[in-house]
Assembly symmetry: C2
Homo-oligomer: 555 residues x 2
């Protein structure tokens, strides 16, 4: 019997809303399972940051209670945090389906985590973990073998959809598992956590198969080369590139490190099939007649270092865009990437290519469910409580409205922020718990977590107005100035030493440090005097606020 | 008779494509007229820059030939450059229609340009300027009294559409001047320059009037406050806010410096009409019952310092968003602003408001023509040559395709970059001329043009990895180190003086400056040795490249 005072706690730790990456903690008594562990890419104000991963302080403090990481699918926003988080949890198994294990295996190797247990969990399996029973079910998404996970818990069944859409005609022939969802719904679902990414979009998301039709329509009449850019992990999309190429007697060259690696893994595991004569090595591209070639590559998000951007800039080792080329950008810009994508498309046009992109031709569909599918998920599972996940705050609000339309009571919709637990009791009550430590950790070069808000604030200040360094040398004994202040500026306004702004600033410094009093105890004071007088002077003169850094050298 | 060897030269100087702001030069012999003079807002890589205005070196070198600036309408991307450019052209008249003169008058006052001649030019007027005759014609846009300009020149008639749409039911009752366009087309148009902003959009752009209908539908059932955010210059939109408020017995409070100023000017000039009882002063907002109030404000682009963003953050002097408020964001995000807009909408929801925004309800229409309207413009004017203007490069490409569909010969479509002249001869031939100096000038605080690529490059470097300053003090006579190197870092990783990274870097410095040789001539060498050894050390240790700045003080 479940202890009536002991709740199931559901806690987002990967960020929700605008932070928006995925990691959900399910805690009952002394047992914790974690679903997914994503990363996010830095926003424009996180200068110099490479990656952002979840702060797992809460889990680290309960290290011995963490029983398992369950993975819904191997997209970066669901697994990218693992290499940074797992070292805290040696021996705690990571469960994932076949393709996800393939992709994770490569990732673990890269991060020297090959000893970490990576265990099979396939759609349709059932897995006992302490007081939980995990029931992964197949769901459609833009990567094969994506799963949602139902968790039977002592307070009832919780369903976590993962990222999903309902694709009735999936490219791999394996549709979503409606039967399990319906059965769970009939037996009773206490809480649904469901993907909100496209909760603003009415109707249904089209089938992935429609993209293949678009590829064929575009490619059929062409005589020149075709370049298709898409996500490296979208194996079904890549399959359709191979299929369309084959239909018109073209061979495919796969270009781009991540896509080449994923294709290799997908072929090995049987998720991608093409005739061995259907492929061309990268270094054979120039020897292949343009009309016999399709190049599949990365960079559909306009990433400046990606294959496509480099091809557009004629900076790629194997492929340069030429007049006569046709480029299909098979993606929509992810929020935040709009300008990169626009710039890449412009550069492709300037290089002479014809370009099919999101506003021109439907050569892309989303991997996320639209409103009618979200309603279907709600209708199948009929949850008492509803937690919208994955998506910006406004999308979660819209998803909450859909849930209410579908019969969830408004007070049973929990739109929660990162670290906000929802506690569900065996008698069916639920409430918000006390927030737990949550946040994010910056990965910057080799450092994980060293760079924090102070460093970022400095970078922002430096980016806005540059810096103004004032070096003064004072006599250790007398406290008197030994030489003229040295001034160095970068990122401010272009100045040389004889510029009046420099000479006058130096005079202000000299004035500020006259009679500095007892110099030993007063170095901090001296610095602040210099900083204040120079900052004020520069603002008056330029209306800018460079970072003023006084350095006092004693000799 | 026109000299057969003397061409009309049409030159974009305001940027085209991704730079994308408006300034077109029309030059014939010794006479130059300029249409528009816009600014652009900095993109995300232009750290700390406030504004970007056109580089007018080409015009400055021909100062005596510049006869007039003709203004199509007073949006910032068409007039924002004037305050920075006009001081180079004292006495050269600026011609504009009534509302544009009102708005420009305020701008000139702010920039102490009140002596600069600002002359009336209304739709339907004709104006002789040297060898040109300017014929402004009324056109629909998201500001009243917008004009296109036809220029009769010795080589034929050129039509510049300005920004436009064909709105058959404009809010001010003044539709586009089809008659003049048709007449010009019949007489013969040698070249059309036309707005490409929405060349990717099929069909027609809906009438501005549909927004008023949406306002009424949204507001009618509401009992709480309504806040409508839109562009400060969209007088027709603001008129519709007043009309919708009046229809449901609400008063309007206008909040936001630029909108208040524009409303004052528009009322004075008769472009905005409402009953005097229909308005509430800002400081009376809290005394007005929520159900009797509509607040019109700025910030529909999510600008962090705008009215709406501050209201959402509860940081506004007169209005804080409260549960029960309804916010209508009457705009679509301009490319580059998507994230700001998303953040503001999220914050409004978090503050408890219900929000209508671009993906949820059509409470906004564009001021730019869609494909069918662009074809209509091409069909009315039937130009021999076609230059797509205004819009990103890919949009100009699409617009060029529409022109070809409409009968313009493919080789007569000129998609040109900034500074690229098109030369049209009296016999009807046209060709690309030699590019002229063109580019942009950064406005940063009080400085115009001081900040260039070098400063920006430094800011980018500082933003990415911060800086690492090494101060060494050497004896002027011996060149020996006098004291331990001082190290100051900002924006790199948080370090204190006893951090091994600091102490080891200091050791590298000491090693690098041992035996520095003839110190006087070698200070530059010394600096570069320090820089190189420290940079290498830091990269090895952290995989980051902070800006290393060596300062050598001689005592």
């Amino acid at each position: 019997m479940a202890d009536p005072n002991r709740p199931l706690r559901i806690i987002p730790l990967g960020g929700v809303g605008e932070i928006g990456k995925n990691m959900y903690v399910f805690e009952y008594g002394d047992d914790i399972v974690v679903i997914d562990c994503g990363l996010m890419f830095p926003d424009e104000e996180m200068f110099g940051i490479d990656l952002v991963v979840p702060d797992v302080t809460y889990l680290r403090e309960r290290r011995d209670q963490v029983r398992a990481f369950l993975i819904t699918h191997a997209h970066e926003d669901h697994v990218g945090g693992l290499p940074y988080v797992l070292p805290n949890f040696p021996g705690v198994p990571v469960y994932a389906s076949t393709l996800a294990r393939g992709l994770l295996g490569a990732k673990f190797k890269e991060h020297r985590l090959t000893d970490h247990p990576l265990v099979a969990l396939e759609p349709g399996d059932e897995l006992e973990i302490g007081p939980f029973r995990a029931i992964p079910f197949r769901i459609g998404h833009s990567i094969p073998d994506a799963m949602g996970i139902a968790l039977r818990t002592p307070v009832g069944t919780v369903v976590h959809t993962g990222d999903f859409k309902f694709d009735h005609t999936p490219v791999d022939g394996k549709p979503s598992d409606f039967a399990t969802l319906a059965r769970l719904g009939q037996e009773g679902v206490i809480c649904l956590l469901s993907d909100s990414t496209r909760a603003e979009n009415p109707g249904y998301t089209p089938s992935e198969r429609t993209v293949g039709e678009a590829f064929r329509e575009i490619i059929e009449p062409l005589e020149g080369r075709v370049i298709v850019a898409t996500f490296a992990s979208n194996i079904a999309r890549i399959q359709q590139v191979f299929d369309a190429a084959e239909a018109f007697g073209r061979k495919v060259a796969v270009v781009g490190r991540s896509m080449e690696q994923n294709v290799r893994i997908a072929v090995d595991l049987g998720y991608l099939r093409y005739p061995s004569s259907g492929v061309v090595a990268k270094d054979q591209i120039s020897q292949t007649p343009p009309g016999r070639l399709v190049i599949a590559t990365t960079g559909a998000q306009g990433e400046p270092m990606s294959g496509l951007a480099r091809m557009a800039n004629r900076d790629h080792r194997f492929v340069e865009i030429e007049p006569g080329d046709t480029v299909i950008v098979s993606a929509s810009p992810i929020p935040g990437n709009e300008e990169y994508v626009a710039r890449t498309i412009d550069n492709l046009f300037k290089a002479g290519a014809n370009v099919y992109y999101h506003t021109i031709k439907r050569a892309h569909v989303s991997g996320h469910a639209s409103q009618e599918e979200l309603k279907l998920m709600l209708g199948l599972t009929r949850p008492r409580y509803f937690i919208p996940i994955h998506g910006e705050f406004r999308m979660m609000v819209q998803h909450g409205r859909l849930a209410v339309e579908m019969g969830v009571r408004p007070e049973n919709v929990f739109i929660i922020e990162n670290g906000q637990p929802i506690e569900i009791y065996p008698d069916g009550r639920a409430r918000r718990g006390t927030p737990v430590p949550a946040g994010y950790v910056f990965v910057d070069g080799l450092s994980v977590g060293d760079v924090g808000e102070v460093v970022l604030r400095d970078r922002r200040a430096l980016a806005a107005d540059g810096m103004f360094i004032v070096v003064v040398t004072v006599d250790k004994q007398t406290g008197n100035l030994v030489s003229r202040p040295e001034i160095v500026t970068r990122g401010f306004v272009p100045l040389n030493e004889r510029d009046p702004l420099i000479t006058e600033a130096a005079e202000r410094v000299v004035a500020a440090i006259e009679n500095p009093g007892d110099h030993i105890s007063e170095i901090a004071l001296l610095k602040s005097q210099i900083k204040e007088s120079v900052s004020r002077f520069l603002y008056e003169q330029t209306k800018r606020r460079p970072m003023v850094l006084p350095v006092v050298v004693e000799v």
